[in-house]
């Protein structure tokens, strides 16, 4: 089934202890789209400036991603983010943010997007996410991501949004920030009680937790020694998860758990190189092989 993602499209500059890359393809909706494209037809809604390189458009289209909803603002500049990872490759510092065209992003969902049954609101302002929800009259499953910035600055809108969505994806520190609860199991359920039917708490190198009224579980990350650039891991996780749900066309508990596992595995490929360099060079068969290893790892 079709899957729509609304979120940021970016040119990232990434510094790691070993290497640096300037103005590479990034953004929450981009990582999400490419990850999801291994499973289902994806439509990307976002905004860029006219400095947006044509090669990035080609890359997205080569993955079958529909970009009818990608606005290109004449005379505008694309959102830029610069960050530096610490030696542990988990902690990072944001060095510079230039919102540019993203500052006034007013998502306009093409008709086909509005009718899409699966909708993901990738990281972006809650106000923008709410606008996209209003337009998505055909959505049967709406899942959103959020981050500390919006928890701190748009809390009221976020609380309103939590009552309109089916699922929320956020990381561990954000779940604690949103609820004031230090125990992650309690925090996950507290977020769920704020509205969504399910909550996914991402724990980076430690995997992800799932919370619904009837279920609490955790799946570990796939252990990898090859961590080159963690940027986009969380968005890739969401893309793999939502992509699998869209492929299966349902969001039953058993489908959701397998979707979580696919999200973890797609993210494990993303971190193996800068930008999408690793993710675009895998096949569905690579994912299936890693899934076999992962299931083997978790059986005893």
């Amino acid at each position: 089934m079709p899957l729509v993602v609304v979120g940021s499209v970016a040119l990232d500059s990434v510094e790691t202890p070993k290497d640096t890359r300037e103005d590479i393809l990034g953004g929450s909706a981009v990582y999400f789209s490419v990850a999801a494209s291994y499973f289902a037809p994806v439509r990307l809604v976002g905004v860029v400036g006219d400095d947006w390189p044509a090669e990035h458009t080609q890359l997205l289209e080569s993955r079958g991603i529909n970009i009818e909803g990608l606005q290109i603002i004449e005379g505008g500049k694309t959102f830029r983010w610069r960050g530096r990872y610490m030696e542990n490759m988990n902690d990072r510092e944001t060095l510079d943010v230039q919102l540019n065209t993203l500052a006034d992003f007013d998502p306009q969902l093409p008709e086909e997007c509005r009718r899409s049954p699966f909708l993901f609101l990738a990281n972006g302002s809650t106000t923008t996410q709410l606008k996209a929800i209003e337009q998505s009259t055909g959505a049967t499953l709406t899942v959103a991501d959020t981050m500390d910035l919006w928890i701190n600055t748009e809390r009221e809108q976020l609380e309103a949004m939590l009552k309109k969505i089916d699922g929320l994806v956020l990381n561990d520190s954000e779940a604690k920030l949103l609820t004031g609860e230090e125990n992650l199991v309690l925090a996950g359920h507290k977020v769920r009680e704020m509205g969504p039917r399910f909550v996914v708490v991402k724990k980076g190198e430690h995997g992800a937790m799932f919370f619904s009224q009837y279920e609490t579980y955790v799946l570990p990350a796939f252990p990898t020694e090859q961590v080159v650039d963690p940027t986009g891991a969380g968005d890739s996780f969401a893309g793999g998860m939502m992509g699998y749900l869209a492929e299966q066309g349902n969001f039953e508990p058993t489908t959701l758990k397998k979707a979580m596992a696919y999200g973890i595995l797609v993210a494990s490929f993303t971190v193996e190189d800068f930008s999408l360099d690793r993710l675009i060079n895998i096949t569905r068969e690579d994912l299936e092989r890693r899934m076999e290893d992962y299931q083997q790892m978790l059986s005893f």
Copy 2:
């Protein structure tokens, strides 16, 4: 098969954000023994002073733990530790340590202990651990724990010990400290290359990782909202793991993985109350039920 543990026996004072306990039963060998006692006959080797309460002896004996190797030093005092847990219940601060009789602990393994095929060197000085290894002529599987203190102060002895043991159990920050490697997968294998055939890296609320020449895997912790006192979780993990290996009488790869899982589950009970209050009140059936839930959680 019989299992011997050499390690600390303590009276702990524990402060958590919600509650405080004074002079409660603790120590690495105690948590280990009680955890392992659900699986195999355990012999404890340690030292206490004559302030050691008789009720603690009774508790250990009620679990079938042989304490022939527990030295009671007349006129001496039992090792005491005081610590405070932070709001997140993971980070802790050591407020006071009184080594007392543990300072001069010279382990004397009774004949039965020397012949035991399974030996665990719980947390204690590397020098003490080496003395126990020398006496354990019948050991076919020797596994040790260590900690930052010994990595920093007895590195030479520790490196010598790593060449004499089959397995090492340590936590994530200690694996990084020992190897200077921030990536846990690389760190785990680097420790393994220092001698032991397998290495287990404990990650607290995030579970544990296993490393051998042919295997790298991670198992998540059992998610619990009931974290009252994390003291002894790592020692209980080791006790559950070694106890299951001793019960099965082998340390094949499939047995080791299931042993890791039992370790995780025993530890998940330990943290549910202060000291051994929860752990001594479960049955093997409680463990088996949680094992079923855990395996169910990890299957998709």
